[in-house]
Symmetry: C2
Subunit: 141 residues, 2 copies
Amino acid sequence: MTPRINFVTLGVADVGRARAFYERLGLKASSASNPQVAFFDINGVVLGLFGYASLAEDAGLEAGEPPAFRGMSLAWNAASEAEADAIMAQAETAGARIVKPAQKVFWGGYSGYFADPDGHLWEVAYNPYFPFDAMGRLVLP
Amino acid sequence: MTPRINFVTLGVADVGRARAFYERLGLKASSASNPQVAFFDINGVVLGLFGYASLAEDAGLEAGEPPAFRGMSLAWNAASEAEADAIMAQAETAGARIVKPAQKVFWGGYSGYFADPDGHLWEVAYNPYFPFDAMGRLVLP
């Protein structure tokens, strides 16, 4: 059995607020969503939004206070620097906080970061070394 | 532009140790990997492993100490309860810590959690309501 990422679940303070943010960003919630949980199909992965404390409790962990950095980032890759800029602007309009404006970076690409209303970190990147396939997925060497 | 999850990057204490864990779990690292970063194609999403402090620094955030709960989980869905048990056993053999043994849960499915060597939380779940497509992706209503 080879690992798959079927779900990325983000713990949020208010499912309705988080859902509205991702809807403004252009996603459509599944009809299986309810006030306690929201599901989005995002290029073949389910993005789940669930209460921060409830998610911790589900795993039997102490929730604690959400730290600014959580050891993880998601990335939404763009096809060009201009598209990365447009995505950052779209996210800001939807209510994201710009953590780092998109800029040329040491590895030869172009990248910025935004945080969703719960502080989950998204990188927006143009990576000239990893092309896209027809489905918008990156092709690794 | 509709959001995509192209990358899930996990901050790790030791890229070589984390890479070896995910290789034991059955993934093959891209040839673009190097001692500072590892890339795996995992059903169309890139799983990236990068230094915990380096990832924080890339976003301009303070790394802090990795908390036990980070407000997020990944899920690897199984086609049956038996497959979920087998995945949990496979993860434990590869060096994961079992956070919650797989068991029947309130929403009608079957789920457990393991943590990778850096504490990143993976749920292993059988969800009878969300079937798989031919590519092993969940189909939402």
